[in-house]
């Protein structure tokens, strides 16, 4: 042992000290707000319409038109700010951000610059392992990390470009523009550079999605572009204060793409520094390419002063009174992080169960409705996360609120198992019918005669019959072939239609077989 250790030490000492790097990551998340109409005009925001059908003189910047703020946008932005623990600005305004690109009909975007509606917030995210399950501390509690939210502001979305003659900008001969999305309301949420890994960033983005969906202010659909994340990332030797050169990555349309793009970019930047090519990392925007699993350079980043922001002259300032803020605050639902904590502390559920149950608000509400009738939390959790989740998965597009099996019906089923009326096996047997049609578990059990047989005399009688019918097996058992008890259990279940109390049956069977 001593010798091996000595060799180990020698080898470590001989190897050149390898610098450890860490990534500094911040996210800019754009959430499309679920309003009926655009932020400053009355056109529809419905996704997937015929190109340029949701356009109007205001969002197209026709001369002489005036934008007017949609009141829902302000309400949703303030609620989101409150849910992200932000301070809500008592006085806020809109600004013009100027740049020329064909997706922008007015040549400026109405956004907020120096006085955003919300600032100085934070979210607590759970740290997760490779499988996406929460990491636990020594007390078995989920490990969380606080991620700062720098600001949240309101702005309008741009249109969509289709590059003709090529699926890429580079090879196209001309482009076609659809302005249906131009002027759709967004909130942009900017995080502090508190994230360190791709996994943390993906978890942060998921938590933002959970929050906006709980609030009902956005559907958070990444495929349709309702939730878009831009990543700012740099690497530096661990322990150094100063940030490295920051690169922006865009074009990730899933949480796993966010994670993979960041992991790729960390590797690329660290490799460049280790080769002595650190200078090749320049401040630029890079695009994530899902097909090649790489990032590639898109453009050199312009300094923010090039946008020549100035106060939007067509819109008045926004003043949110303390009363209005409190009124909106009072309508906030219990948020996912609060639910997770409560499920663990008050219901005794594991961090994993709490995380799965609270991911979707509708599922959490279903679970809560079931336990409100008195059913045991852990049992309800198992059914919701197991058979019910599997059923919903198998029926794509079905949501838990549409399930014929209502929470109180599930509670009734669980109650029947809990008080010994039916076995777990019978419960699983009648579940498909309940999932399809709903109804009373008790009524089904009674009408089909499925109640559990717990009368020792009745069980004994059945066992006697079985032993009489299989004298050879009884003999073999008594000669030492103890495994045969399993055979009798199986026969007994078959004979009773799975209705005998399994524990009691085993006790009686053991005694009888012994003779």
């Amino acid at each position: 042992m001593i010798e091996i250790n000595a060799v180990d030490t020698l080898m470590t000492a001989a190897a050149p000290a390898k610098t450890e790097f860490e990534a500094v990551i911040g996210l800019e998340t754009h959430c499309q707000l679920s309003t009926n109409t655009k932020i400053f005009s009355t056109s529809s925001t419905t996704f997937g319409a015929t190109p340029n059908t949701h356009i109007d003189p205001v969002c197209m910047g026709m001369p002489g038109t005036l934008p007017v703020l949609n009141e829902k946008v302000l309400e949703y932005a303030v609620k989101t700010g409150l849910a992200l623990n932000c301070q809500i600005a008592p006085y806020s305004k809109f600004d013009r951000k100027q740049y020329f690109y064909p997706d922008l009909p007015k040549n400026y975007q109405i956004s907020q610059f120096d006085l955003p509606i919300a600032e100085h917030g934070h979210v607590n995210i759970e740290l997760t392992d490779k499988k996406g399950e929460p990491l636990l501390d020594e007390k078995g509690k989920a490990v969380t990390k606080r991620i700062g939210v720098t600001r949240l502001h309101m702005e309008e979305d741009a249109g969509k470009l289709v590059h003709a003659g090529s699926d890429r900008l580079a090879g196209s001969t001309h482009s076609l523009v659809d302005y249906n999305r131009a002027g759709v309301a967004l909130v942009e949420i900017v995080s502090e550079p508190d994230l360190r890994t791709g996994r943390e960033a993906a978890e942060y983005a998921q938590e933002i999605r959970r929050i906006v969906r709980y609030l009902g202010v956005s559907d958070g659909n990444m495929q349709e572009g309702s939730l878009r994340c831009d990543v700012n990332i740099s690497v530096r030797p661990k322990g150094r204060e100063k940030f490295g050169t920051k690169v922006e990555i865009k074009n990730m349309n899933s949480f796993s793409a966010i994670q993979k793009a960041i992991d790729y970019e960390i590797e690329r930047q660290v490799a460049a520094i280790e080769r002595g090519d650190g200078d090749t990392i320049v401040q630029e925007t890079r695009l994530w390419d899902e097909s090649t699993q790489r990032t590639s350079s898109m453009r050199k980043k312009e300094g923010s002063s090039d946008y020549r922001y100035f106060p939007e002259p067509d819109l008045g300032p926004i003043e949110v009174s303390a009363e209005q803020k409190e009124a909106w605050k009072a309508t906030l639902p219990e948020l996912p992080a609060q639910k997770r904590l409560r499920y663990e502390a008050e219901l005794g559920l594991s961090p994993y169960d709490a995380r799965v149950l609270t991911d979707e608000k509708a599922v959490a509400e279903y679970f809560e409705a079931a336990i409100a009738t008195g059913a045991t939390a852990k049992l309800v959790a198992n059914w919701v996360m197991g058979d019910i989740a599997a059923h919903l998965n198998a029926n794509t597009g079905m949501v838990i609120t549409e399930l014929p099996l209502k929470p109180e019906m599930l509670a009734e089923l669980i109650q029947l198992i809990d008080d010994g009326t039916i076995s777990g096996k019978i419960a699983k047997e009648i579940l498909p019918e309940l999932l399809e049609k709903g109804g009373s578990a008790k009524a089904i059990v009674e009408s089909k005669g499925l109640t559990q047989i717990s009368d020792p005399a009745a069980i004994e009688a059945m066992i006697d019959e079985l032993m009489e019918a299989n004298p050879d097996k009884v003999e073999q058992f008594r000669a030492g072939k103890k495994k045969l008890q399993g055979f009798f259990v199986g026969q007994l279940m078959k004979k009773s239609g799975g209705r005998v109390d399994p524990k009691l049956s085993n006790q009686i069977l053991a005694k009888k077989l012994k003779g």
């Binding site: 470009l161 076609l176 523009v177 002259p313």
Partner: protein, 96 residues
């Protein structure tokens, strides 16, 4: 005061192509405009909150009610080039 280089830069950001003589002309004109506004700095504004507008109104909002515009065709036809349901724009040289 702004110099010719700044005029050039602002013109570039505004996607304006200026002839050298125009740059000289605009340098003078822009400077005289800025000088004119410079007069404002003679006033002491230390205790005055920044003003972005002259009319004292806030919280002008509208209800979130759908009203489709009847002007779709007109708007599309305003474009220099139209291709069916789309606005057609020339090849994009770089991101802006």
């Amino acid at each position: 005061m702004i110099d010719k280089e700044q005029v050039h830069r602002v013109a570039h950001l505004a996607r304006l192509e200026l002839q050298p003589e125009e740059e000289t002309q605009f340098e003078g004109q822009l400077n005289s405009i800025l000088e004119y506004f410079e007069q404002l700095s003679e006033l002491n504004t230390e205790d005055v909150a920044p003003t972005t507008r002259a009319i004292d109104v806030s919280n002008i909002t509208r209800i979130d009610q759908l009203k489709s515009s009847p002007n779709r065709e007109e708007i599309l036809d305003c474009a220099p080039e139209r291709e069916g349901d789309f606005f057609r724009v020339p090849k994009i040289m770089g991101e802006g």
